[in-house]
């Protein structure tokens, strides 16, 4: 957990709630809030997914999420930003990640939110294992 008046970061094994995250980015100076919600899909390349197991290198993952939020604040006029990520076992439809960005106008909110999820997927040390009915695989590990 990390937060200052602008940035809220969380890595948790508890269920994520959109309302909670939305409230965290409430800001009188914001005219736009963009929210990205990443959910667990029931298939990958036509294989049926049963669940995802998320593992994190906790202290570094939180640090990298903080850095990401700071970068977004440096590049766009962010009023508030929240990055909340789940870990542990998730089932179909569960929320894995919520990113919310509040800015004065919508363009910046869209851009900053997209930047944040795209970069999170490249830099934050969190790994997911897809568990199928006939096997399992760590996502992105192999070419």
């Amino acid at each position: 957990m990390y937060s200052n008046d602008k940035i809220s970061i969380s890595l948790t094994d508890k269920q994520l709630q959109v309302d909670t995250v939305l409230n965290l980015v409430q800001s009188d100076g914001a005219g736009a809030v963009d929210i990205f919600v990443g959910t667990v899909r029931n298939n990958t390349r036509k294989r049926t997914v049963e669940r995802l197991d998320f593992e994190a290198y906790d202290p570094m993952a939180v640090k990298e999420m903080e850095k990401l939020a700071i970068r977004a604040c440096e590049q766009w006029p962010v009023e508030k930003i929240a990055i909340h990520h789940r870990k542990g076992t998730l089932y179909i439809g569960d929320i894995a990640v919520i990113i919310a960005v509040a800015t004065p106008h919508r363009q910046a909110a869209f851009e900053a939110c997209k930047f944040t999820i795209d970069t999170l997927k490249q830099t934050v040390p969190i790994w997911k294992k897809e568990v199928f009915n006939d096997g399992e695989v760590w996502v992105s590990a192999h070419p």
Binding site: A56, Y57, H85, V97, P125, W138, A141, P143
Partner: protein
């Protein structure tokens, strides 16, 4: 004729493993011997020799004290080191 034999002092590194690297090595934490003065790329090279399946991964990065390690960063026994296989959060 006498030849000079120099034995490089070695160090024991503590390495944390996650995701597929944990499966490849077969444990969550590894104590691993390296010569003193070894750098991030030295460690990756040596680990790939010990665990050839690491070659199959798209990338293997090293984190030192919760930061991505720099190219020629030197490692020390007191460092918290982690292997970072390709991440897949979100």
């Amino acid at each position: 004729m006498l030849s000079e034999i120099r034995i490089l002092p070695s160090m024991e590194l503590n390495i944390l493993l996650f995701g597929i690297t944990k499966d490849i090595v077969g444990q969550q934490k590894l104590r691993y011997k390296m010569p003193q003065g070894a750098t991030v790329p030295d460690l990756v090279e040596q680990l790939k020799k010990s665990y050839p399946k690491l070659h199959d991964l798209d990338s293997v990065l090293v984190a030192v004290n919760n930061e991505y390690g720099q190219k020629q960063q030197e490692l020390h026994e007191s460092d918290e080191i982690a292997l970072i296989p390709p991440v897949s959060g979100g």
